[in-house]
Symmetry: C2
Subunit: 199 residues, 2 copies
């Protein structure tokens, strides 16, 4: 992918993020790129390619992240921490693209949408494996794995709704707190004995 094409892709991601795929027009993208609308077609085959590339590039990133985590031998708590860290890192490093990945994938063509959903399921499965492992190891509660994983991932994903690059919370701090929250919950533990050193 040429530099100019990447540049256009990132402009498109910003506009898709701000206005949504359907509401961000080719003319908007062209204007933001200081180019006539027709000129974009020297670089892309069509509007959907911009969405398609974004969604699948991000899917690849997320999948590579979870695969790395699951390939290493650690206990489930450590793996979960790594997975959360990685997820937040990708999210905050590619904020616009992540928003598109999360919100706009449904505007993909039917065939590509099906492929995308499959990849996303694979990613969720990676998290489920971690949670299930934790239960098997006896360090996690015997929760409904599918349910808990969805709750977990939703907390991770909602970050894009409020994360501020120039805010006071660094990505690593967000990851720390989120991990702590998901691990410990709200309720105070009366007897802290015996759970030390778990994380």
């Amino acid at each position: 992918m040429t530099d100019r094409k990447l540049e256009i892709l990132e402009i498109a991601q910003r506009l898709f993020c701000e206005n949504g795929y359907a509401a961000a027009s080719i003319r908007d993208i062209a204007k933001a790129a200081n180019v006539e609308p027709a000129s974009l077609y020297s670089h892309i085959n069509g509007k959907e390619e911009l969405l398609d590339r974004t969604c699948f590039m991000m899917a690849d990133k997320f999948l590579a992240g979870i695969d790395d985590v699951n390939d290493i031998y650690f206990d489930a708590a450590q793996k979960l921490k790594m997975a959360v860290d990685t997820h937040i890192n990708i999210l905050t490093n590619h904020l616009d693209a992540s928003v598109v990945f999360q919100r706009e994938w449904r505007y993909l063509s039917d065939e590509r949408k099906a492929e995308f959903i499959e990849l996303r399921n694979k990613y969720e499965e990676g998290f489920r494996v971690i949670v299930q492992t934790g239960i098997d190891e006896g360090i996690f509660n015997e929760v409904d794995v599918k349910f808990a994983t969805l709750a977990l991932l939703s907390s991770l994903n909602w970050i894009v709704e409020w994360y501020d690059k120039d805010g006071d919370l660094a990505p690593s701090e967000i990851a720390d707190r989120l991990y702590q929250f998901v691990l410990t919950g709200l309720k105070k533990r009366v007897s802290p004995q015996g759970v030390k050193g778990l994380m």
Copy 2:
């Protein structure tokens, strides 16, 4: 609001939910209502009214729910349970409208969008009060209130992404598990002594 107008509103909500506000056209809505596009304008002033009414109707519902909870005297854990129950109930009872409320509000006009955000902040504030109360009462961990509330609400809201009306999980079950998850977290408690009877 006349019956027919409500009917049209609900059709619009379904299509806004399925295709997004920008991609769901007046002609689509008309077709689904078995009517010519122009006929819709006997009932509505414009497309945006359908979005506007949906967003603010739902905002009212959610706000009324949290206000009811906060007006009663219970401890924070009980209040939180009630708030979660209420939230899930509204969500599952008005699934299409809730999705629009969550995803499509940014297509409101600038002025209305500002009003909407204010209402949504008020709702979040209602949850923050509960969490803060729990900390003050000494039954919740001393978490970052703003952060924890966002994580909590994100778990609640993500439900619309996977909830199936005909699935095996009833709304009340979802609320129970979600509450349990947020309260207890993943990590196993070694010494359960002394926390009985909290919920």
